[in-house]
């Protein structure tokens, strides 16, 4: 079933899949306000529950995600109101600003793409990429994983080649077509 139709028709299997795909993003987004992963996860959970019980219809998947992000933001800001220290000392204006909301949405959308791409790599390549993200040199990575510097280099190359391919899918739809084979 089409995702957006499934969501509008309250198909529970579509909701399940949508939850699995997007839950982490909403948690990470809420955490930017709260800096507390557990409360962020509870809030994300609440957002998806509201989505299920609500009676809005959406035109696109982006709109659904937009709803989840704005709900998460409102719940998070509400949560912070109860936090006396934050209320008194932190620049509340900054947290509530539209720019801050925009920045967090962009950050989440960018990093979710990168995360999903890394997540697709074979375990060893993933380890190499994560360590190199921590700015470790090839030599340090080799030592840490107990493999040769040459293997690190190869794994890195393979991973980047693969990531290129994976990211491509985000730029040109899911399916690529070739009609040259048609008569």
């Amino acid at each position: 079933m089409d995702i957006i139709a499934g969501i509008n028709e309250k198909n529970n299997r579509v909701f399940k899949t949508f939850f699995e795909k997007n839950f982490s993003s909403v948690v990470m987004f809420a955490d930017k306000y709260l800096d507390d992963m557990e409360v962020a996860a509870d809030i994300a959970q609440e957002c998806f529950i509201r989505l299920w019980h609500g009676n809005m219809t959406f035109e696109s998947e982006d709109k659904v995600k937009g709803f989840l992000y704005t709900t998460a933001r409102n719940l998070a800001l509400n949560e912070l109101k109860h936090d006396a220290i934050v209320a008194r000392y932190v620049q509340k204006g900054m947290l509530e600003s539209e720019v801050y909301l925009r920045d967090n949405v962009v950050e989440e959308e960018v990093y979710a793409i990168i995360y999903k791409a890394i997540d697709e790599l074979a375990p060893q390549s993933r380890k190499v990429i994560l360590l190199s993200l921590q700015e470790l040199s090839n030599g340090e990575i080799a030592e840490k994983l107990g493999i040769s510097v040459n293997s690190v280099r190869t794994l890195k190359q393979n991973a980047y080649k693969k990531l290129k391919g994976l990211l491509k899918d985000y730029f040109y739809l899911l399916f690529l077509l070739d009609f040259t084979s048609l008569p």
Binding site: T17, K65, G66, R102, E109, Y111
Partner: protein, 392 residues
Amino acid sequence: MDIISQNKRICHLIAKQLWEGLDDDERLELEEWRLSVPENEVLYRKLTNRENVSRYVEKRGAIDVKKYAVAYDREIGLGVRGRINKLWGYAAAILVLCVVGATIWMNELKNNEADQLAQMTIEPGRAKALLVLDDGREIELDDHKASKILEASGIVIVNDSSRVEYIPALKTGEKETLNKIIVPTGGEYNLILSDGTRVYLNAESVITFPKYFTGDRREVFLEGEAYFHVTASKEHPFIVKTKDMDVMVTGTEFNVKAYPDEMNVQATLLQGAVTVFSGFEKKEKVEIKPNQQAEWYRDSVKVRVKEVDPDLFMAWKNGRFIFRQDRLEDIMRTLARWYDVEVVYLNESVKNMLFAGKLDRGEEITPILDVLRATDKLSVDVKGKKIVIGLK
């Protein structure tokens, strides 16, 4: 416009910049955005900071999605309550069968095709298999009662009933007895042999193997597709025999695909080294290295070795389908095995159309068919468990 659509282009540009860099036009576009207001430049610098990316990946990886998914399933009526619904479903199915039986009895096959079609739904495959013991007994492995029967013979079914494990023989000198696992259409199953070798079986596959390995060689016979993670033992080579090709290793990870209804037989290597025997009396010997594939062409009776991306051939084991410029017929054959459907082509030419894409094996087939329809070149009709594809 919503907040995501508004920023989508920028998100994609930054993500692309992070991993592979941009071409000139894209770089110009991003620079323009960065320069337009100071906040943009601040955000750009923050996002392209590697430390930030790394912290994000670590944090996100630690989220226990499953834990929250269980609670959510319950909320939307799929969890505990869902199971009760399922039971009602079974009850209804039995009732339908009774009614159908009675109708047939009374009317002698008054065939109402439309009704039958309406009852059939297409669902993704799941863990299921049939175990045939050496004494000929057949045991359904997804049945909870199965574990009790097997325990007595030194075979353990893991509680999620998605895999069966053979415990090594305690006493030596036991004679070699053969067991068989049959995975039907729409199924998959995992097997751990008595030497610790792990075997992931794909749909429509049959593997015959000894309950305990006794001789110098460890031999199993495969029809269909399986991924092997072989426990190393130099003295006891492990051999996967198929009708056209044998694959010999001492300890490694590889995938073997040998379906009787396909033109080719493939062995793809992820790690270690394997030797492949094919051709007349299987005397033609080829060695392959990691990231290589030996492919036996049944029509031209030839073996060929080529470099491949092994992940493409092992994706099924990780719950995915990955297609890269594959023929529609090949894609649909793979899907048919998993979704237990029959595919009918109205035009031969459509079989050779090429598609690429990544799919989750746990999802329904409908979105895939919708993509085919979206090409506007194909007509796709679903009639019960039959999918009819033609030119538009």
